[in-house]
Symmetry: C2
Subunit: 144 residues, 2 copies
């Protein structure tokens, strides 16, 4: 029951882009170095984020990546689901009737409640809020 590397790295990458000033691009190497993401893996992550329209890739000598959406409009859940697909704590929660035991199963409503609790937290934080927090952490760290 663990987030994949894909989801974790996508969140880091998007926070990194949200910390940039408007118009500033980040290269793959920038993101890989600052967010400690293996470069080869990061290429796959960025591809996924471009595909869903959260990120835009600019080609050329001064090319790079930038957010294509407002960081205040996407949450940490949005980013995870963009690359991992919908978060489902158990396959019985995929859709109503996915598991024929729903009516009898005492565990089913517990999985549902646990999933709601988890999503409630991931829905609460926008990428903008996290970028602001990371900027503060960074300046605090550099001033020590």
């Amino acid at each position: 029951m663990t987030l994949t590397r894909l989801g974790d790295y996508a969140v880091r990458a998007v926070i990194h882009l949200a910390m940039k000033n408007n118009g500033d691009l980040a290269t793959l190497t920038d993101i890989a170095l600052h967010e400690t993401i293996p470069r080869s893996f990061l290429a796959k992550v960025m591809q996924g984020l471009c595909k869903v329209g959260f990120v835009k890739a600019y080609r050329g000598k001064n090319g790079g990546f930038a957010l294509a959406v407002n960081a205040a409009d996407i949450t940490i859940r949005d980013v995870v689901e963009a690359v991992e697909g919908a978060i489902r704590l158990n396959i019985c929660l995929t859709r109503k009737g996915e598991c024929k035991r729903d009516v009898l199963c005492a565990a089913h409503p517990v999985w549902q409640e646990a999933q709601n609790a988890l999503l409630g937290v991931l829905d609460k934080y926008t990428i903008e809020a996290l970028a602001q927090r990371q900027k503060k952490n960074l300046s605090k760290f550099l001033n020590v």
Copy 2:
């Protein structure tokens, strides 16, 4: 970010055993049929549950499985963790210092908060409570 089949089946199997009267054993076939678990997979699940001491296997012609602990003393989280290992929403939560970015990373406290919310729900329900609920569901279903 999905529970493995191992965790799901272990919870179903343990609830099934907790629904039995004291001393009554359940065979592998009983559990597989009633809880819709592939028999070959179930053998592995029961082995895991016996290993941690939650279940005891009785050999012989009238053998089978029984809970080896009080169902009121174990929660749905205990059962999942018994077969899947500790629930960690992200590998950075495995232990303090697992990820060197902890101090800077704005996502880290969100993963922690989401994990706490998830575990809070899974800690809340004992297997006894779930067995009682499943008994009620079953008798309601059979009376329709």
